[in-house]
């Protein structure tokens, strides 16, 4: 595996990987890692400063912020992973269909994609959530659907390029049926680019979930979502700044991890590309 060797030499990418693993561990081991119940309120200790009992302080209801941040990683990862799967599945089907068949199907799909791409980032997701209503499931759907047009365009681009390669031509000349050509010769070559895209998309998906929850349109209380924590902490910002800022820091660390891994993967999978270093 050349790619792994190149990835391993990239110090920033390894830091990113460590941050991502930390997030995954926090999400899977949340009940054991969290020292306090993330929903237990203690009004006498509300807005407690970071200290011995509450390492990162307590929020406006006296709930342990650290425990809520740990549980919040579950929402972030869940929304991120499922929405990436939605975006990849939708984009892969539409992109290959458009790129491989061409003709009117290509025209129709790409025009729709272009219309959707004309909506500035966040606004499309906002419009979808406005239609579907708030909640974890609808947020995930909105983030996933938001990603479909970009993935479609990327997949179609690679499929179009691959369709013209000599080995695909050779496979077809040998009489291989179209689905086999697609499965054995085209899709495996689309995948590396897709993996990079999926990682960077995870970073954006986590940011988008946090943004929607911050606006009050995403995950609803009392579920521990980091974006929601920033939003509720905003009300007490001037008396207890840590309530809003600590969860936001946790969002940044998670996003940074996926961004670093995505950049590292891109450099590792495409050694010709040296522009980012």
């Amino acid at each position: 595996m050349d790619a792994w060797l190149r990835f391993r030499k990239n110090r920033l990418a390894l830091i990113g990987l460590a941050l991502v693993l930390m997030l995954v561990l926090a999400a899977t081991l949340a009940p054991w890692l969290a020292l306090h119940d993330p929903t237990r309120q203690s009004l006498i200790e509300k807005r407690a400063r970071p200290g011995a009992k509450y390492l990162l302080g307590a929020d406006e209801f006296g709930r342990d912020i650290l425990s809520r941040v740990i549980y919040g990683s579950r929402v972030a990862l869940l929304v991120g992973v499922v929405s990436v799967l939605i975006a990849l599945a939708g984009g892969l089907v539409l992109g290959t269909a458009a790129g491989f068949t061409g003709g009117w199907l290509d025209t129709v799909v790409m025009r729709v994609v272009e219309i959707l791409l004309a909506f500035p980032y966040l606004l499309l997701a906002l419009a979808i959530v406005a239609m579907l209503g708030p909640g974890v499931l609808n947020t995930t759907l909105a983030v996933g659907i938001w990603g479909v047009p970009a993935v479609t365009r990327m997949v179609r681009g690679s499929v179009l390029a691959l369709r013209e390669t000599e080995y695909v031509g050779a496979a077809r000349a040998l009489g291989a049926p179209a689905p086999a050509v697609l499965r054995r010769h085209v899709l495996p070559n689309v995948l590396p680019g897709l993996v990079v895209y999926a990682t960077l998309f995870m970073a954006n998906a986590i940011l988008l979930e946090a943004a929607l929850s911050f606006l009050g349109l995403g995950v609803q209380p009392p579920t521990a979502s980091r974006g929601l924590m920033v939003s509720t902490g905003r009300d007490v910002l001037l008396v207890a700044p840590h309530v809003a800022t600590v969860p936001g820091l946790a969002i940044m660390v998670a996003v940074l991890g996926f961004n670093l891994v995505g950049d590292g993967l891109r450099d590792a999978l495409d050694p010709r590309l040296t522009t980012t270093r």
Binding site: L126, A203, V230, L256
Partner: protein, 223 residues
Amino acid sequence: MIPAAELSDAWPATLELTIAALLIAAVVGIVAGIASAVWPNSLFDGVARLFSLFGLSMPIFWTGLVFIVIFSLWLHWLPVGGTGSLTHLILPAVTLALPSVAMIARMTRSAVLDVLREDYVRTARAKGVGEVWVLGRHALRNAFIPILTLLGLQSGQLMGGAVLTETVFAWPGLGRLMVKAIFARDYVLLQGAVLVFALAFVVINLIVDLSYGLLDPRISRQG
């Protein structure tokens, strides 16, 4: 109020905010990117790249709150929110611009680095053209097309980010109106706001496409 009146009341505030942010993003991003490319792997380059990594990863609603805590709560330099004087504009505009600064600096760096490797840059240097002239006349002109494309795309990011920034800083613009419309289930107003944003985005990118011809005479409208 009828939706059209509400929209026409709100859009100038958003325009002011996004243009200020776009200016900051373009100036800081391009200057930092060029400096990074001219002195690659220098201390400045390292700091700039580290900053752009963080800039791309920070949720802007959080950056805005951190700025409020630092500059309003602790230092008492700038107001917490609202509109009025130029000082009200600084925090929201900088907050909104940060991710775009990071993105533009990154892109400018790689675009200028690519151009500096071209044969014509070596030729220019070989015939004794000064370094400033090489950069301004030969390198930047050619590096500018991808940067301009990115600027157009970033305007979309800014409009989306405006929804968050306006909420954080109580900025009376389209973004806040949109969020209010969603909560009030005022779908006519929501559709109107989305339409205004999408239209602005398309127009900006049309202008970007048309301006390619000015930068590079080889790209003409006839194609």
